[in-house]
Every structure is written in C-alpha cells, then in structure tokens.
Amino acid sequence: MIAHSKFFAKQNGTPPAPQQSKLSFSTKPKANKTEVPAEQPASTPEEDVTGEENADTAAGAGIQTDTDGPAMDVDSEVASEAGKKRSAQEEETDDDDDDEPPTKRQRRRPAKEAPKPKKGKQKSTTKAPPKTKKVAPVKEEEPSDGEEEVAVEKTATLARAPKSSPAEEGEEDVEEDALSSEEEDPKAKAKAREKMQTTLKAKTKDLYPDWKPGEPVPYAALCTTFSKIEMTSKRLEIMAHCSLFLRQVLRLTPTDLQTTIMLMINKLAADYAGVELGIGESLIMKAISESTGRSLAHIKNDQKEIGDLGLVAAKSRSKQPTMFKPKPLTIAGVHRGLMGIATVEGQGAQGRKVDGIKKLLSAADSRTAGKAIDIEKDKGGPSEAKYIVRTLEGKLRLGLAEKTILVALAHAMIYHEMSQNGKTPSTTDLAKAESILKSVYSELPSYEVIVPAMLEHGILNLPENCALQPGVPLKPMLAKPTKSITEVLDRFEGKDFTCEYKYDGERAQIHFVAHDADMTMATEVPNAGKSDRGVSNIFSRNSEDLSRKYPDILGRLPTWVKQGTKSFVLDCETVAWDKVEKKVLPFQQLMTRKKKDVKIEDVKVQVCVFAFDILYLNGEPLVNKPFRERRDALHDAFVPVEGEFTFAKYDDTNDIDEIQILLEDSVKSGCEGLMVKMLDGKESSYEPSKRSQNWLKVKKDYLAGVGDSLDLVVLGAYHGKGKRTSWYGAFLLACYNPSTDKYETVCNIGTGFSEAILETLHQQLSQIVIDRAKPFYTHSSGNKDQPDVWFEPKHVWEVKTADLTLSPRYKAAADEVSSGGKGVSLRFPRFIKERDDKKPDQASSSKMIAEMYQKQESVTKTKGPSVDDDFDY
C-alpha cells in the first residue's frame, strides 16, 4: 500500500505526530543542497516545513497528510519506476473509491485547505481513522472532517449536531440506566428492542468508514467500536454499537464475522478447545519494552501507576519509531497472530511468544503511528495496541457482556437479512431473532458452528440446523440462593417441587456416544474417553475439558451406562468419596487431586459421580421436557454403582418440617445443603447458563449458627489493579493469640468493599505503612505470600466467612489444630465493617478460630459424634 512505496516519506505521510514525521530521509539534505540529484526524494522539504508548521498550530493528522500527498507524487516521478506505478495506482483507486481508508482519502485534499481546520486537533487525537462522510450519530468531533469543503461542512455541522446527538443520546440517557439495572424485566426488554428498532431504522451511520467489500475487516474498525463501547456504561448504547458494527461486517465481509465475534468475546476458540494464550504480565511487558525501546523498569513503573498494561502499551508506542510501517492489522490477521502465540510449543516457546506479540504491537496503530496517545482522554481512545494487550491479558474491560454480543448479533443478522429484501425488521422480528439465537446458543454454545450455519441458512432457520449435540458442552443451569426455607416455600407455593442434596464437589457434564449410535461426537474425544462401548468426554462448568483430570470416571463409565443407552449428556457433580466409610468427603479433599495428566493407577482420592439431570438422551435433546420426565429418563438410562455412580438423593416433599430435616441430614452427610427444583411444567425445563428462579439452593451457610463473623486485624495489603488501581486491592488479615502475644495471619480479603470504602481505607492505612513485618507477626515466609505493604496493627474489621479450611499460607491457630504447620484460613471471607470500638488485641483469638474449625470438622469428620451412620447412598 502507500505505506510501503516510500521509504521514510511514508513516515512523513500517515503519522500525524510531528516527531514521527521528521523521520524522513529527505528533509535535511534537500534543505541544504539545491543541486540534489534527481533520485532524491526531492519534494519533501517545503512540504515538510509547512507540514510541521501546521502541526504546530493545528496538529491535525489530516493536515500533515495533506501536505505530504503531493510530495509523494513528485517523489514517485523521480524515484524508482515501481514507486511511481504504485502511487499512481493508488491515486486512481482513491479517486474512484469512497470506501478507502480515511488516511488515503485525505491525501487527496488540496494542500491549500491545510491551515483551515481548527477542530482538526480534537478529531485527530481522539479518532485514529478520521471520518469520511459516514458520520456516526454519537460523534461530536465528526463534523470538521469529511470530504465536503470546509464551508459546507460548517453548515453540515450545525445541521447535524442537533439532529443526531440528542436524538440518539438524550433519550437513551434518560431510560437506560433504569433499564440496565432491571434487565430481566420483560417490559424493559421490549422497550429496549423498540429503541433498537428505531436505531436501526434511523439509517445510523457506521462508526468506521466502509472498507472494500470482501476485504479483511480492519482491526481498527473493531477498536473504534470497542472504544465507543468503553466510553459508555449504557447497555443499550453498547448493544447498538455492537450491532451496527456487526451489520457492517455482514454487509462487507461476512466471512470475517466469526473471527470478529471471537475477538469481541475475547476467546480464540470455544472453551472446550482448550486454546489458551498462556501469557503472563511479565511477557507482555517484555514485548512492550522491546518493541517500543523503553526500558523494562519504565514499563513496570508505568504499570504500577496506571494499572492497565493496555494503556501502558498505548502510551509507550511513540518512543521508538519504526522504519516501514507494517500493513494495518486486520481482524483475521490479529486472530491468526493470537492463535500462533497460543499454540507455540517447545523450546524457546516463551521467546517466540514475545516475538509474536512484538509483531502485533509493531503493526498496531499504523494509521496513527508515532502520535503520542493521550491515555487520559477517552480512556486511551481506539488504540489498537491497547486492545491487543488487553486481549492478550484476557481482559478487554469494556463492560461488554457476551450476552450483549449475542443479542447484537441477532439484531444485526435479522436486519441484514431483511434489508437485503428491502425491509426493516419490526420489534417482533428483532424479538424473534433474539430468542432464536439465544436458545440455540444456550444449547450449542459454539460460534464456530452457529455462525457459519446462520450465514448459510439464515437466522430464522437456525433451530433446524443447530441443536444440542454431544461433544459440545453447554453452560450448566444455575440456582438462585435463598436465605431460608420459608423463602423456598413462598417461591414454589402451590407447585410440585423436589429437594435434592447439594453435593459439595465439582460440577461436571458427561457426554457420551455409543459406537452403535447413528451419530458421532461433535468434537474430538480424548483417549481416556474411548472405551469398547463408545466415546465420551467430561467437561467442567466452564466448558473446559476435564478428561485429563478424571480419566478414572471416563474409564469406569461403561459399567454404569445401561445397555441400550446410545448417547447422552449428563449433568452431575463429582464428589470425593471415602471407599472405606462409604461416604462423601469434603470439597477440599477433591481439590487435592492433580488437575492434569492424572493416571488411573495413581488416583488416591476416589471420585463418585452424583447425577441429577440429563439434557440429551439417545439422539434427542431433553432440555425442554419437564424435570419429572427428565429425572425418570435419567433413572432409566443408568445403573447406580456404589462409590462410582449414583443419583442425587432427593425427596419430593413440600412440608416445611420435612424439608428442615432433609436439610439437616444433607449437611450431616457432608453436603452443602439442598437444591430445590420445580418438577412439572414449562418452568421446570433445563435453562442452560441461566441462574434460574426455578432452581433454588438452600445452603448450610445460611443456617443459623454457621457463618459467624470474626473480628480480624489488618496487617498488610496488596496494590490494586484495574478498577482498584491506586488503592489497595486486597488485604492480609490476622487473628490475635493472647498467649504468645502475636498476630497470626488468617486470610487475604478482597470482597465486600465499595469503592468509597477502598478509598478511605487507602487514606487511612497508607499512614501506618511500615517497612517490614513486625517480629510479632506470625506469617508464612513463602515469597508469594508476602503482601506488597505491611501495616502497624491498628485496625480491626468484622469479616464473615462461609467456611474454615486448612492452608499452608496462613498461620492462624496452627499450634492448636496441630496439622503440620498449616493454619486455619477463611473460605470466601467478606468485609462487613470496621470495628472502631475494638483494639487489635481484642480481635478474635486463635483459640476461638481453632474451636470454630474443630466444630466444623466434627460435622464432616467420619467418626464425629453427630454423623448419621445409617445413611448410605
């Protein structure tokens, strides 16, 4: 492209920042010698001078390029043949094509225009790709840009501004905050849709100028959309931006739709594919340092100050200019690059990952090259480097929920399809598309399958072409927490429901297809899942492949699958199992298993599968059947095998006393509590990925007596990241041991704080920072267990916890529980309030914590007094 036809002239051309532009070969020699040989890029000097002057006054990207445009032409005439041809061609295309990237277009503007635009300053700093006549409705900086003469533009500005901004933004402002808070409300949803529809009808202009149809989608287009999304917290606006962009992709390059979606949800592939970038902060910092020529120390310092590597990268860009700019990034190119980084293996993999990142980073922001990005403004704007780094980190931090993307995709798709027939979708059409895509996606959460099918058959025919299939894990249905049994009764009044034990293990989904079934598994099957009966796989609640963790479950699977069961998808809980005592073990036991590459012969912690739901059986999805039917099917299709596979224990009662007894029994037998589920009717169907009202959980934590609060002393803190940058993000707490007069660490805490509290805490605590731990702090000496700062023992906080557990990282009551140096620690600690009235030495004592732990253990321990020994599965 143009960029490459000239040596440093290119640098002079596109980039707006004065520093970078100076990087031209030509400036000095020419200025000095007038008898320059013909070969020399003769043109630039005067142009440059004007360019720089302008840059000083207006600092506009456009201006700089303007002046350079002619320069390049002259240049090419005298320079090499190739150069000439190239720019000549570009000239042509520029003229014909309205859809050219804006940088090129600007070059066409006659140089005399240059000094005029004043607003140019604003536009060029905020928007990498300057607008053409396509004007996004929400843009205010727009008007000064564009093709029209300035005079025309001015009037246009006046005309446009009042029309677009208030119409789009004003209304939304009023409604949206309310909407987002109650997004489940159907009324609000309808309203939202209406809004969407008007937006769609309104012939909204795309944020990013069209690229050539069929050409790869520029990454800058996505970043522009991202930036817009980042700037708002209004869900509808976010959705509108997404939908608009997806429509543009559909219209111009539908083949890139899938990759675009993947980058938007920030996943390289579906979860079950197990593709991970495997990049830590330090690798990214190394890459930033190497590609920008800034020292690692500076990068680290910036990271501490800014707390967002994306912004650090954006800020660091301009220190070391590049030679030729690489081609601008495309969505497909970025995805390929990321995949490359994720799949690098073997010797020197780390180094090659860094190389891959450097390549992406050096190609980033080629349109705005070298211009210092003001990270204070617009949260860094649509900087490609920023979003690449955030993608690498795995956190885009846009407030862009996957659900929003799904809805936006549905809207974009239906709009696209209908507009091809010259129609505009009504709110009902939108609602239909939305519900179709949602339900298909919940059964088959794989854009790799859905998007191509949708492009081929149309969104309305999606249910016929895409359905639940073994091999593609779906997101499990979740339950709403309740505070009491009476709440459960209120919810299910007059309905039949069942109470199941809620086992304390790991949620899992087992997929199976028999050899003699007339279907195949949709995804590749691990070796562990292959048996003489068929192929199987097991997935976590996050759809990760668990076959390397539970080869024993897959290995024994044929023993509990009834003959005649050809295929199924099973929802279950894997629980650690004591073979001798024949009872379940606590969750902590399960967690001691290796996470990967478990060998069946090495398994020490036996695992039993507790099945409680079936989503697919013998070629047929069951998710929409009532739970009673599903449960019957479940019991028909499998044979319980003691200690290996069993059905979750349940009771279909609706008597409050019976439920109370059941709950107590469940807790005694090592469960977390009860799951209460609707039995009949439409409400009892399986709703993947939903936290549904139709499943309620009653946990032991909510029972009176358990979950006492503790008063603990703050000893240290960790620097915050992201939202919590510049405050402390987490704290180290300790209890007090009056017999030794020492403080013993008990947990880290990071939940339960509001931003306001964090701010005051930071003010308060930074006063009492000390250099190192006091000698009377009993804490783990492990490198990873050291907080970033230590405090004087002064403040006491009230903290609630769900559970107590043993941990080598903490030292509380380590002597009392005598478990080889491990201390008692809190699970899921939550900040309640400061206890100004308590002195540090009045904090909860380690003895008290030891007692609480022992009391809790006695319930779960095998030979504990209160265990119901008759109970068996």
Binding site: H4, S5, K6, F7, F8, A9, Q19, Q20, K22, L23, S24, F25, S26, T27, K28, P29, K30, N32, K33, V36, P37, E39, Q40, P41, A79, S80, A82, G83, E290, S291, T292, G293, R294, S295, H298, S318, K319, Q320, P321, T322, M323, F324, K325, P326, D355, K358, K359, L361, S362, A363, G370
Partner: protein, 259 residues
C-alpha cells in the same frame, strides 16, 4: 533455474550469522543481477538490506526472478556444516520448494550436499530511496564494535553527535555516563585504521544500543564500516563486501529521552 557458485562459503556464513538474530525468516530474491535480501525485525525498528551481486559468484546463473523463502535458523544449521574455505554452490528450480546447497572442499574431494525446505513468506519489497546524508563517517569496523559494546554496558541508548571536530558517541546510564570521541585520522600505511568524516551539517541522533550491538556482528565481513546520518532520518550502517556487494542496516532513531 538458479545456480550460484561462491568461492568462499564463509562469506554467506558470516552474513547469515550477522542477521539471524534480527530476522527469523526472509526471502532471498534472486535475479540476474545477484541475490538480494531485505527484511525488518519483528518490531519494525531496524531493516537489513543485503546485496550479493552476480560478480561475487562465478559462475552465476539466474534465468528468472526467484524468491527463496528461508528460515535463517535452518540456514545457519546447514551452513555450520561447511568448512570456512569450502566452495559453496546454491541451486534452485524455477518454482522451487527446496534450495540446494553444495559444499566442495578445495583440497580434498569431499562434496556435501544439503536441501533446505523453503517457505512462503509474505513480504513486500520496500523501496529504500538513495539519500544524501548530512554526515558520513568511515571507521574501522572493530572500533565501532568496541564502542557499541563498551557503551551498552552502561546504557540502552547512545547519542551520536557529529561535528567538524569529529564524532562523539555519548551515553547516560544509571551507573554513570560515558563518551568516546573520534577525530578524523589518516594512516597511509594502515588504511584500515582510518577515520574519515564527510560532513555537510552537524548531526545529533539517539539510537538503541541493543540494535547497534546486533549490527556489529557483521564486523568480520569488512575492515571498515560506514555510518551515514542525517537528523531525524534512520541511521545507515554499511559493511562493504567485495565486488560492489554490501550488507546494510538501517535503524530508526529514538525520539526524545526516556522520561
């Protein structure tokens, strides 16, 4: 059909050694005028440009333009198998998927032959304009290498200031600073040690030492190195090879000082 016989396999060996840390994969563009290579490092801060003219080979035959996409790591491995005084012959078909290297020992009858698989590298040709530089400095390659190595112990970047008096390499680091001043100097007996400065205007530029140290790996190729500078323009570091061939490095200057 390409067939290029190089009397000294060592030449190619040294060239590849000098650039393999900057560039991993690149195209060797072969045409009737010789073999050329042009590539940028991952960060696009430096550019390598090599030209081995057809006269450097005997015989040299190249019927049509061929781009040999080679992984330099693989090429290094194969070249390691060549003795320094071996005669090297490069061969490739017109639409090759491998490049063939033959090493002949001049003293014995040993002939070894290797094939390297080629790859498709998407690389555009970047036109580098001939430029008149404000300052051109010729100095012994070993001297330049020493300067870069010594200063890189102190700092990450070096500023090169060239004036009528001479050229000054200057760096500021955490532990202190250092500077080396060279004056023009002619020694008729030992022209290798000459320092020549051709100046039309004083220049001062800052560069990353990491890259310069990397460039200096080419010091073995030529006694003298030529540095060409103009303000705000990339530095050219040129090692002249025999018969008009060259190995050139370009490096974009750093902007501003670290904060």
């Amino acid at each position: 059909m390409l067939e290029a016989r190089l009397e000294q396999a060592n030449l190619l060996k040294k060239v590849v050694d000098a650039i393999k840390d900057l560039v991993q994969d690149c195209n060797f563009d072969c045409n009737d005028s010789g073999i050329a290579l042009q590539a940028m490092d991952n960060s696009h801060v430096a550019l390598v440009s090599m030209m081995l003219r057809s006269e450097a080979f005997s015989p040299f035959r190249c019927d049509r333009n061929i781009a040999l996409g080679i992984n330099l790591g693989s090429l290094t491995k194969v070249l390691r198998a060549a003795a320094t005084d071996d005669i090297l012959t490069l061969k490739a078909e017109d639409a090759p998927d491998v490049v063939n290297l033959v090493f002949e020992s001049p003293s014995t009858d040993r002939i070894s032959e290797y094939d390297i698989k080629l790859m498709d590298i998407d690389q555009e040709h970047l036109g580098i304009p001939e430029t008149e530089y404000a300052a051109t400095i010729s100095l012994p390659a070993s001297e330049f290498q020493r300067i870069c190595r010594d200063l890189s112990a102190l700092s990450e970047s070096v500023s090169i200031e060239c004036s009528k008096e001479g050229v000054k390499f200057n760096c500021q680091g955490d532990i202190g600073s250092g500077s080396i001043h060279l004056r023009p100097h002619t020694n008729v007996d030992k022209p290798d040690t000459n320092v020549e400065i051709d100046l039309t205007e004083p220049v001062s530029l800052t560069f990353s030492l990491k890259y310069l140290v990397n460039f200096c790996k080419a010091s073995g190729l030529s006694d003298q190195v030529k540095l060409c500078l103009s303000n705000e323009v990339p530095l050219l570091v040129e090692y002249t090879l025999q018969t008009n061939s060259y190995l050139r490095f370009y490096l974009a200057p750093k902007i501003g000082d670290e904060e």
